[in-house]
């Protein structure tokens, strides 16, 4: 199925969890946060929340700024 990750389309296996996606992308968990379809997730939910076709995933972390 196709989802969008940080604005870019990505094909992933059906039933993948947020945790699975982060592992697939090799994203460090520390200082990272995830939103799916505008909802900010709690880290505790990464393992249980499965993504659906068309989901828009945002993965963020701190960057330089003022």
């Amino acid at each position: 199925m196709e989802i969008s990750v940080n604005g870019k389309p990505m094909v992933v296996e059906r039933g993948i969890t947020v945790d699975g996606l982060l592992t697939l992308l090799d994203v460090k968990r520390q200082y990272t946060a995830v939103a799916v379809n505008r909802d900010v997730l709690r880290k505790a939910d990464y393992g249980t929340l499965t993504l659906s076709e068309g989901d828009r995933v945002e993965i963020v972390r701190p960057m330089g700024g003022g």
Binding site: V5, N6, G7, K8, L25, D26, V27, K28, Q30, Y31, T32, A33, V34, A35, R38, V40, L41, R42, K43, E58, I59, V60, R61, P62, M63, G64, G65, G66
Partner: protein
Amino acid sequence: MYDTNLVLGGKEFTSRLIVGTGKYSSMDVMREAHEAAGAEIITVAVRRVSLPSGESILDHIDTTRYTLLPNTAGCYTADEAIRTCYLAREAGLGEMVKLEVIGDQRTLFPDVEGLLEATRTLAREGFTVMPYTNDDPVMARKLQDAGAACVMPLGAPIGSGLGIRNPYNIKIILESVTVPVIVDAGVGTASDAAIAMELGCDGVLMNTAIAGAQDAVAMARAMKLAVEAGRLAYKAGRIGKKLYATASSPIEGLPDWTS
């Protein structure tokens, strides 16, 4: 001279200079500048992870030493800013946030309606809200009433280096609120920071003035000294301004040179 600490969200800080992490020529320069500034609070932005994910800015900041202050720069609505704060909290960046709701791309002036709405929501959610606002005393009081932990009026547009354009409004803001007042944005050089502190502000927040200086580390030290000097001068109590001279040496006891 005895001085109190800057208190934000129940935490005490001895440094009154808050610095950013944007636009440095290198991570080494940034780290040295943070050190030279003597800062205890450091702002960061929250942005999409670039994939594949490489090094993080936090690889260059000792998070056991500095308090991170995530900002909502680039947010144009209260909703975006609120969600960004939630992201920052979930990312483990804490609950102290530099709240920006921008109203105009060219000036980066705040959208105070959105700012007030976001401040109210976030304060209710337990965040320590530090709103970047304009130099309007009425809005400053409204932000305080909405639960802001401090108010952060601009001295001049972000990154402009124009200094404190309306010191009288900053002065009135200081008289209008009881929460700390931190000048955020507009500082160009050390004297600007000193002026903010001499007015009685509780702190100064800056990024570009340091990061964009030819020698960022030297400017960071200059800003540290300016903030300290300005604070000390404020606490010391300056003399009044007068139009005409008042002699510093006594008139009495002058020798008589008349012939």
